[in-house]
Amino acid sequence: MKVLRAIVQFVFLAGVITLLVRGLMGGTPHDCETYCPFGGLAALYPLARHNIYTCRLTELNVALLVSTLLLGLTAKKSFCSWVCPFGTVQEWLGRAGRSMWGRWLHLPTSLDRYLIFLRYVVLVAILTLTWTVWRGDLGFRAYDPYYIIFSWNGHGTMPWSVWVAVGFLAAAVVTPFFWCRYFCPLGAVLDPVGRCGALRLKRSEERCNLCGDCDDVCPHRIPVSELDQVTARNCTNCLECASACDRDALTLTWFGK
């Protein structure tokens, strides 16, 4: 499981790095933004209202957004843990932090409970600003660590943008998936579709001895051992819990059957 996911993650990360290198060498006009599904969402309002794409957005962004939503409906938020290159970077940094601290370090529950809704605020703010104040320009580039890193501080970023990216990367070492958990607007979009995703983990009551290993390894703080099926909105089907289970009590099922 882990190897298969690592291979898929590597393919997408290598793809986006290839785009970056080719772009820096002047070989392609396409970059990480060309293939970003969130761009499809930013494009929707001007597309519906004026039948135009703004900035660098194209029909490919919209098509990839639709595909990402369909993936959410079928395989929950697998996009986050299998596809997203920035998710992969966050995961690796989180693992580095975990090996340093010996466990996942999480923000206190009292704080996390409220911060987890921040990504919805980010989503609304980005779309509102893009569609009004920025008049279709992708003004959030300067704050978007995915774009800042994989475009190498490209067009639309500011001199300080690199520090925004460094800040989010450093935070990921201390708190796993810091950007994804608290700020990612695409994650916020995928929350409701991911919740009803068809491919989900099911826990066998007969096999499970409630050891709690699955809870400990989950980077998204999901209490897997207390659930019959994992339908939590934060579950990205990374399958860390299933890998950690010695008794094979967790299986990936269609609709929990």
Partner: protein
């Protein structure tokens, strides 16, 4: 855990679907009208290095705006295409290409913002 295989299969299939369907609903990045045709018109399609967003499309339109006999410009950022309707009696694809390929001086530095990678007549 054989169902795990479904995840990469779904990812590959849905990405393929996105690329296949992308050409089915192409929307221009920029549609610009220069004037009304008074005579016979022709269409030429350029693939232009430099046309990659709405802003650069507007810059491209500005570069060719002085060419006489242009009717309209439609750009597609994803494919870097510029499709130009013109009056062959007044201008030619060579003139149009020369207009957008010219260097521009900014603060004492010469820039070439656009260059044609491909050119083909349509119709």
């Amino acid at each position: 855990m054989r169902n795990v295989v479904w995840i990469p299969v779904l990812i590959a299939a849905l990405i393929l679907l996105a690329f296949v369907t992308t050409n089915a609903y192409r929307v221009p990045t920029l549609e610009h009208r220069f004037g009304t045709a008074e005579g016979e018109t022709a269409v030429v399609r350029f693939v232009v290095d430099g046309v990659r967003c709405r802003g650069t499309s507007a810059g491209f339109a500005n570069m060719i705006s002085e060419v006489p006999g242009l009717v309209s410009l439609t750009t597609y950022a994803r494919t870097n295409e510029a499709i130009i309707v013109y009056e062959p009696a007044l201008t030619s694809p060579d003139d149009i290409e020369a207009a957008f390929s010219r260097t521009v001086e900014r603060d004492g530095v010469l820039y070439q913002f656009f260059s044609a990678a491909e050119r083909e007549p349509l119709d």
